[in-house]
C-alpha cells in the first residue's frame, strides 16, 4: 500500500466507499474541486495573478497606452532617490507612531473600564462600539466639519473656554493628528473588543492568589493581568501597524494629501502616481516596497515576541 493510499483509507471525512478504484478517486477529485473551485479561482485570480503582474509591471515603464518599456530595477533605484517618496514614508511613519500606541492603549483602557457590571454599561459599550460602522467617506465629512477652523465644534469649545483656536486639518503640523484621532474614533471598538475577550480569560485563581498575597489593585493589574494580555498586545500592535502603513481612505476623504503634502502617505503617493500620473510601473514598485515593509514589520514583531517568550501566533 502506498503512502497516498494509506492516507486515503485513513478514517476521516467523506470519501468514496470503494477503495482502490481509480474511477472512484477521480470522482472524489472532481467532486472536491466542484465545491472549492469557484471561490478558489476567484480569490487566487484576484490576488496571486495580479500580484505577479504587479511585479512584472514594477520592472517596466508604462503609462497604460504606449508600448511598455522593460527597465529592470530602474523603478526601484529611482525610488531610492525620490524625495517625494521619502516624504510620504515620513508622513506614514508619523501617522503610525501616533495611531498605533493610541489605539492599543485606548483599547486596553476602555476594555478595563468596560469590563464590569455596572448600570448603563450596555449604553457605554454601544456608544464606543457604534462608530465601527462609519465608513471612511462618512468619517471624512464628519472630521472636516467637526475640525473646521470656522464652524467646527472643536474650535467652538476651545473658543468658549477662552483658548486659542487651531487650524486642525488646514494646519500642516496638526492635520495628521486629526486624522489619527478620527481613525481612533472608528477603530477603538476593535482593539477594545480584543482586550475585553482577553480579560475574560485571565484565570480567576491567579487574581485570588495575588489578592491573598496582599497585592494592591494596581499591582494586580500590572503584575498579573498585563502579562496575560501580552499576546493580544502583540497581535493588535501588528494588526494596527499594518493598517496604519496602508493609510489611504481617510486621507483621501479629508485632506487629499494636503496641506502642502503634509498628509500624503505612501499609499496616497502610490495612488497619485498610478491613477493620476498614469505611471503604472513606478506605482507598482512603490506597492512592492510597501509590501516588503509590511512583511518586515510583521516578521520583526513576531521574532521579537518569540524571543521574549510571548506566543501570539
Amino acid at each position: 500500500m502506498t503512502i497516498r493510499e494509506r492516507r486515503r483509507n485513513a478514517p476521516a471525512g467523506t470519501r468514496s466507499t470503494r477503495p482502490g478504484s481509480r474511477i472512484a478517486r477521480l470522482k472524489d477529485d472532481l467532486g472536491g474541486w466542484l465545491f472549492v473551485a469557484p471561490a478558489t479561482i476567484l480569490v487566487l485570480g484576484l490576488s496571486v495573478f495580479p500580484a505577479v503582474w504587479a511585479f512584472l509591471l514594477s520592472l517596466q515603464e508604462w503609462d497604460g497606452f504606449s508600448e511598455p518599456e522593460f527597465i529592470g530595477g530602474g523603478n526601484y533605484s529611482e525610488l531610492l532617490t525620490d524625495e517625494d517618496f521619502f516624504a510620504a514614508a515620513q508622513h506614514t511613519g508619523l501617522y503610525t507612531a501616533l495611531f498605533v500606541p493610541m489605539s492599543v492603549l485606548a483599547g486596553l483602557f476602555l476594555a478595563v473600564a468596560l469590563n464590569r457590571k455596572i448600570r448603563f454599561i450596555g449604553l457605554y459599550r454601544t456608544a464606543i462600539f457604534v462608530p465601527f460602522v462609519a465608513s471612511a467617506a462618512a468619517t471624512g465629512i464628519l472630521s472636516t466639519y467637526l475640525f473646521s477652523p470656522q464652524y467646527g465644534l472643536v474650535n467652538n469649545v476651545l473658543r468658549s473656554l477662552g483658548l486659542p483656536t487651531q487650524g486642525w486639518l488646514e494646519d500642516q503640523a496638526q492635520a495628521m493628528l486629526v486624522i489619527a484621532i478620527m481613525s481612533l474614533w472608528g477603530q477603538a471598538a476593535f482593539t477594545t473588543v480584543l482586550y475585553l475577550a482577553a480579560l475574560q480569560d485571565v484565570p480567576a485563581e491567579l487574581m485570588e492568589a495575588a489578592t491573598l498575597d496582599g497585592a494592591s489593585r494596581w499591582q494586580r493589574f500590572w503584575q498579573v493581568v498585563w502579562p496575560q494580555l501580552a499576546p493580544v498586545t502583540v497581535f493588535t500592535a501588528i494588526w494596527q501597524t499594518i493598517g496604519a502603513i496602508q493609510l489611504f481612505d481617510l486621507v483621501y476623504t479629508t485632506t487629499r494629501g494636503g496641506p502642502l503634502d503634509a498628509t500624503k502617505t505612501i499609499v496616497y503617493y502610490l495612488w497619485e502616481k498610478a491613477f493620476r500620473s498614469l505611471e503604472f510601473g513606478y506605482g507598482s514598485a512603490v506597492a512592492y516596497v510597501l509590501f516588503g515593509l509590511t512583511l518586515l514589520v510583521t516578521i520583526g514583531v513576531v521574532v521579537y515576541s518569540r524571543r521574549r517568550g510571548t506566543e501570539a501566533f
Binding site: 467523506t14 503582474w53 462609519a134 465629512i141
Partner: protein, 294 residues
Amino acid sequence: MTTLVENATDAAEAAVRPLDRRRKGRRPSGWHLVLAPIALLFAIPFAQMFLAALSPAAELIQYPPPFIPSRLDLGGFTGLFGETDVLRWMVNTMLVSASAIVSHLVLCSLAGYGFARLRFRGRTFGIFAIIGTIMIPTQLLMIPTYILFSRLGLVDGLGAAIVPWLASAFGIFLMRQFFLSIPGELEEAGRIDGANRWQVFWHVVLPLAKPALATLAIFTLLSSWNDLVWPLIAINDEDAFTLQLGLANFQSTRRTQWELLMAGNVVATLPLILFFLFAQKQFVATMTLSGMKG
C-alpha cells in the same frame, strides 16, 4: 472543542452582556465618572451628523454655529434627493452588497466545506495558497486589477465594485475553520442514509453553520457597503457610483453645502447603525474575527 467562531461569539457575549441591575444600597461605581464622558465623546460625531443633517443651511455656516439647531429643517434631505443622484447610488450600493453577501455565503461555504471535509488531490495546496493570499495587501493589487477590469470592460459599470467582493480568502478560511469543528458523525449518518455529498452539505451541514454564516454576512456587508478604494479607482461613470464614492465626491463638488453633505452621510450610515444596534452581538463577534477596517 472550541472553534474560531465559538470563541468569537463567547467574546462577543462577554463584551455585550446585558446590563446588570445594580443591587440596592450599593453606592454607584466611580467608573461612571470615567465612562460617561468617554461615551459622550464617542457619541459626538454621530450626534453632530444627525443634528447638522436636520439643521437649516444658514445655521451651519453661522459663526459660531449652534450644536443643536433652532428648528428642524429637512432642506438637506430635499436638496440631496432633489439635486443629486443619491437614490441611484443607494440602489447601486445595495446591489453591490446584496450580490457580495449572496455570493460570499454560497461560494465560501462551499469552498470551506470542501477544504474541511472532502478528500481530493490538491486540497492542501489549495488551502495554503488561499491562506497565503491574506498576506497580500490590497494596494499591491490595485494597478493590475484596474488594468484587468478595464480590459474586461468592467470599469464603466457596477462590475468593478462587485467583482472584488464575490469571494474572499478570509471567508473561505472562516468557513473551513467552522466546518472542521462540527462532529463528522452527523455527515456519516447522512451518507449511510444514502444522501450524496451535495445533499449532506445542503441538508445536514449548512443548517448547523448559521452562526458562522451570520458572521460572514456581516463582514461582507460592512466591507462591501463601506468600500471606497475599488469604486474610486475603477468606476468612472457617475451612474455607477456607489454611495461612498458619491459622498467622497461631494466633498469637492458641494464643499459648502454642509446640510446636504450631512444628509448624505445619514443616508449612507444610518442603515449600518440600525443594523448594528439590532445585531450588536454578531457585529462584535465579526469584529473579533477580522478587524477588517483600516
